[in-house]
Symmetry: C2
Subunit: 188 residues, 2 copies
């Protein structure tokens, strides 16, 4: 979140514009994929001026990462069930649902596409990764505070998230509930 975003009032016109711009991005990603639309096209579809988008997000990649983060936080929030096994199972199941859903592959491909040539893209990807890692770390810290042994966030990425992402990206195997639980159990 940058200075300008912090300065926005919650709700009101700013929130409406934000929601419309996010929706326009989601639609364009689904229809054309990353790299095949411009800020001008997002603005036209959202019914706002290009300058509103530049002022708020600065560039397309930062906007894309913001859309992804908002969506991840809404669809796969970090759970707090009282046990690490419960938290990780709930989280893994939400991620599996999200990435196998209607826009799941497009979202994953977007995250990968941000591993890009451009500095804006790489920075947006790093910010997104760091923010989600911070959230995951809080969940793991809560477990440690309860006295549960906990893996670190990178181990969750390696052994729970990575296999699910790659199965979806390469259409290499189903994410059944048993499989997803099994990844968590194997890690713990």
């Amino acid at each position: 979140m940058n200075e300008r975003q912090r300065a926005r009032r919650p709700g009101g016109r700013s929130a409406r514009v934000g929601a419309e711009v996010h929706q326009a991005v989601t639609d364009l990603i689904g229809e054309r994929g990353y790299g095949h639309f411009t800020i001008g096209e997002v603005a036209a579809r959202a019914g706002v001026a290009d300058s509103s988008i530049y002022r708020r997000w600065g560039n397309l990649e930062t906007l894309l990462a913001d859309v992804m983060l908002t969506r991840l936080n809404a669809q796969s929030p970090m759970p707090d069930t009282g046990s690490l096994a419960g938290d990780l199972r709930t989280y893994a199941a939400a991620v599996a649902r999200e990435i196998t859903g209607p826009d799941g592959l497009a979202l994953l491909r977007l995250a990968v596409a941000l591993s890009n040539d451009s500095q804006h893209a790489v920075r947006a990807r790093d910010d997104l990764r760091d923010e989600r890692t911070r959230q995951l770390q809080s969940m793991l810290d809560r477990a440690r505070e309860r006295g549960e042994p906990a893996p670190d966030a990178l181990e969750v990425l390696d052994h729970v998230l990575a296999p699910m992402y790659i199965r979806v990206l390469f259409d290499a195997g189903e994410l059944t509930p048993e499989y997803v639980d099994g990844l968590v159990d194997r890690l713990l």
Copy 2:
């Protein structure tokens, strides 16, 4: 490999054209990324007619997958060291070297980009995945024939390849030799 490719003489003009086209694709992927060049541009850079490319590969995605497979087979051939642990460690180390090398990220992003909207792309991706899976399966079958317990190919994807791919795609952690060996040991 399609009928036309089978009919080609090894060596000679056909092999030279193939090598030039592959090099042109590798250069264009590095410079522009997938989705930002056409068969016409590949042909121009390779100094061949567009029709030669269409005749041999049919479409851009099949050509891209052929470039990737040729490269993977050259850089990370399936080893045969006499033990499964040796084979998997050698293979994992070769993959790690490849994906952290100069074009590694571009290649990975290309594989992901083939998880695409177009039928050609999805088919090319599936063929590539299936061919590498077959090779991996042969390595695992050899281990079983020697009486060694062996995971299946999907488990190698889940627990050895996926964490390495995702670390590189998201720039989320280093692939040290100890880490890569650890993935193999954890699986076995």
